[in-house]
């Protein structure tokens, strides 16, 4: 396959979460999340107790994918920023290192201007982290944990759980 698995190790994940937490605090947003373009959630930070984060991540990726195709149809490469404004809650979506979607959800406690400003800084910080993650993936295709023992155990779980 052209696109390798996305593999996150401890130090990169910590860096990513630090940047997200800073973005969350400095922009006074409700929550922020990172999703890859296939819809897999990478990280989420903030007030997320009441939301279904998995569904949110999937729909964010679907939304971004659909809007990118709209862009292509009218001759744009893609829209670098999407913004959905609600009465009290709004969603700001942008792209990091071509493959990762950054979603910020905020309410009346902050402004679009501030969110935009802080997102710009966060993207600057996240881009080198993800570029280095992609490079590592290309080189290593991390194999430590996913061995035949893992496979056997996973198969047992599949047999146990995937039934009526």
């Amino acid at each position: 396959m052209v696109e390798p698995n996305l593999i996150m190790f401890e130090d990169d994940y910590t860096k990513v979460n630090q940047i997200l937490t800073r973005l969350l605090e400095e922009s006074s947003s409700k929550f922020v999340l990172l999703v890859d373009r296939s819809g897999q959630m990478i990280s989420i930070q903030g007030e997320t107790e009441t939301i279904d984060s998995m569904a949110f991540a999937t729909l964010s990726a679907g939304n971004y994918a659909a809007t990118s195709e709209l862009a292509k149809i009218i001759g744009e490469r893609e829209f670098s920023v999407l913004f959905h404004q609600g009465e009290s809650e709004s969603i700001h979506i942008s792209i990091v290192a071509k493959r990762i979607i950054l979603v910020v959800v905020f309410d009346n406690r902050t402004t679009l201007g501030l969110v935009r400003l802080r997102v710009k800084k966060a993207i600057e910080d996240l881009t080198p982290v993800f570029n280095s993650i992609f490079e590592k993936v290309a080189v290593e295709e991390g194999e430590e944990a996913i061995d035949t023992k893992f496979q056997t155990s996973a198969e047992e779980e599949i047999d146990k759980l995937f039934r009526e």
Binding site: M1, V2, E3, P4, N5, L6, I7, M8, F9, E10, D12, Y13, T14, D36, R37, S38, G39, Q40, M41, I42, S43, D52, M54, A55, T58, L59, G62, A65, A66, E69, E141, G142, E143, E144, A145, I146, D147, T148, K149, F150, Q151, S153, A154, E155, E157, I158, D159, L161, F162, R163, E164
Partner: protein, 194 residues
């Protein structure tokens, strides 16, 4: 393209149900959603039209629990089967780890199945993938209907790669979990080979 997080100890894989319109892709997911215990499944999301035809995709997350310390999840998706939703089908295939190709066994749908299979290969190519590199299984659905083609006939025409194939009546749940188990195991096997 699975997501493996060594820090939060998570593995997420994407399995897609592909096939022609009204073949039973959404029915597979609905049955799994209905039967599987609450602690294993997440919320099912369906982006459908007012007449319950899939417009963009259905999504159902399943969680195996901890396997060797890794929370292992399968994200099940369907594509919209109707021919004119091709742009959406292409988008859903992004990052696919495994495919269930759902066949409508009725004789009059034969050409639609073949067309959908070819369309899947084209859309995979557009995403930079080759079907040869992706684990997949075939499900011959609607086996209870009177005008179905025989398993052998269908398998000869569609199963060119000789992959695991299952007969099903998705609406009654027959063959649904066998199919899910088979594709999940193939996806895990592919991950552990890397």
């Amino acid at each position: 393209m699975a997501l493996i997080n060594y820090s939060s100890r998570e593995i997420n894989c994407k399995i897609i149900y592909y096939g022609c319109g009204l073949g039973g892709k959404t029915t597979n997911l609905l049955y799994i959603h209905e039967k599987i215990p609450d602690n294993i499944k997440g919320k099912m999301v369906s982006l459908a039209t007012e007449t319950d035809r899939t417009l963009f995709f259905d999504f159902l997350p399943l969680e195996l629990g901890s396997v060797h310390g890794f929370k292992t999840r399968f994200h099940l998706y369907t594509v919209p089967g109707q021919v004119h939703y091709d742009a959406s089908r292409k988008l859903i295939l992004k990052g696919v780890d495994g495919i269930v190709f759902v066949v409508d066994s009725q004789r009059e749908r034969f050409d639609d199945n073949i067309e959908s299979f070819e369309n899947m290969k084209i859309n995979l190519k557009k995403n930079g993938y080759d079907l040869k590199d992706i684990p997949y299984v075939i499900q011959y659905n609607k086996r209870d209907l009177p005008n179905v083609m025989s398993f052998e006939e269908l398998d000869k025409a569609i199963n060119v790669d000789n992959v695991p194939a299952f007969e099903s009546i998705a609406i009654k749940g027959v063959g649904v979990f066998e199919t899910l188990k088979a594709i999940s195991k193939l996806v895990i096997a592919k991950l552990s080979k890397k």
